[in-house]
């Protein structure tokens, strides 16, 4: 059953690519909570459409539903690459409402946020299976990248044969260590950036056009 399902998914994915080559690629922005995914999505969307994707926050799991910004046209080297950006909730293996209590959120609201965040992770994993053509994997470069979640997600993305770019975010912070991320996933290209400050965004757009155009 699993084999047949996988085969069907593969065929669907291949045919989708064959018959919709001109459609915008749907690029999922994945990563652990608080890596700066929404900040990056907003940066890209604002740079090319003038709109934002969603609210940014230092509170983890602020994004609890996948948000999509369609038809983002990125111009590089005289040509245009059109993508749909999907900002996803941070992926984690544990969600605890007590985490929210540290951010002056009352318990009832914290429990609700926790439930929504869990739903969001489930949704993000489902999108990864069904609905994305490529992945931008965002990591906080001040944090250790050798985690179960990162290893598992990168493994899933590789098993799907999806094009993936790893963004080492928050290079503006002390303690940023881009090399550690590059060493953790040497099979993929790592692009340093600060989505908050807009640092190195030219290279970011070059790579997006190269990988997903």
């Amino acid at each position: 059953m699993g084999l047949l399902t996988g085969l069907r998914d593969s065929i669907t994915r291949v045919t989708d690519r064959l018959f919709s080559a001109s459609d915008p690629k749907r690029i999922g922005i994945y990563g652990p909570p608080n890596a700066g995914k929404t900040t990056l999505a907003n940066r890209v969307a604002r740079d090319w459409t003038g709109d934002a994707v969603g609210p940014e926050s230092h509170v983890p799991h602020e994004t609890r539903r996948a948000r999509r910004k369609e038809n983002v046209e990125i111009e590089r080297n005289g040509s245009t690459v059109t993508i749909d950006i999907v900002d996803t909730p941070g992926v984690t293996t544990k969600v605890d409402y007590k985490e929210f209590l540290e951010h002056d959120i009352d318990e009832e609201d914290a429990v609700r946020r926790s439930r929504e965040a869990t739903e969001g992770v489930a949704e993000a994993m489902h999108w990864l299976r069904e609905d994305v053509d490529g992945v931008i994997y965002v990591l906080d470069s001040t944090e250790d990248p050798f985690t179960q979640v990162n290893t598992m997600l990168i493994g899933i993305i590789e098993s799907q044969d999806l094009p993936v770019l790893i963004f080492a975010n928050k290079t503006d912070l002390n303690g940023s260590n881009v090399k550690r991320i590059g060493d953790a996933f040497p099979q993929h290209e790592t692009v340093p950036l600060s989505a908050l400050e807009g640092d190195n965004m030219d290279e970011v757009y070059d790579k997006i056009a190269e990988y997903f155009g």
């Binding site: 293996t93 949704e123 489902h126």
Partner: protein
């Protein structure tokens, strides 16, 4: 006397389909089977048991209005005390609960010597009318197979329900409201998408497109 309910001891005629949906009298789902060759000895054992249960458990009999009328008329087993109990083999196993076997798993049912009525009961599909007749038997609170948890606080608690759901859905483990453990691989592998977690631990899922008619 091939079958007898182990709860109320109602006897079913050879080939009867009544018991396929549980005993119509008490709702019991276990029956003991006695092939023809063992009828004599079984009758003696059963007679002993009938006498014992009836004597020691009068409130149960009295509390079951259907049994007092139906069981007497439907029970063709001679219940007189003249049964030759002394001729039955004094098997301790035969008197124990170990003798009680599920009808479905009874190897004797597949005996090539089974008669047409037995074969018919095993092969035929019960009709709607027959189902309706036995679809609402009296409940016995001590029969776990028939006991439906009431929707009250006295029912198995929310913790039990949560535990049960966790066993069924390994993708999200609810430790307590607001605390969750997620199995990312399971979530990824699921065809259906969990779109909502309910307070009581239930899930709302969105089925995959492939399951829909227009897919």
């Amino acid at each position: 006397m091939p079958h007898q309910c182990t709860n109320c001891e109602r006897v079913f005629a050879d080939g009867s389909k009544e018991m396929l949906s549980g005993c119509p009298d008490c709702g019991g789902s276990k029956f003991q089977f006695k092939p023809d060759s063992a009828t004599d000895t079984a009758a003696s054992d059963d007679d002993d048991r009938v006498g014992t249960v009836t004597a020691s458990d009068p409130p149960d009999t009295a509390s079951d209005p259907m049994r007092s009328s139906d069981a007497d008329t439907a029970d063709p087993t001679p219940t007189d005390a003249a049964a030759p109990t002394t001729t039955s083999p004094p098997s301790s196993a035969a008197d124990s609960e170990g003798e009680v076997i599920e009808t479905e798993s009874d190897p004797n049912v597949l005996d090539p010597t089974e008669n047409s009525a037995q074969a018919d009961a095993r092969r035929d599909v019960v009709t709607r009318d027959e189902l309706d007749d036995v679809s609402d038997p009296p409940q016995r609170s001590d029969d776990p197979a028939r006991t439906i948890p009431p929707d009250t606080a006295a029912s198995p608690g929310i913790d039990d329900l949560r535990e049960e759901l966790n066993d069924q859905f390994e993708s999200i483990k609810i430790l307590e409201p607001g605390q969750y453990e997620l199995n990312l691989m399971e979530l990824y592998d699921r065809q259906e998408c969990i779109i909502s977690l309910q307070e009581d631990g239930h899930y709302v899922i969105e089925v995959a497109d492939a399951w829909r008619d227009d897919a």
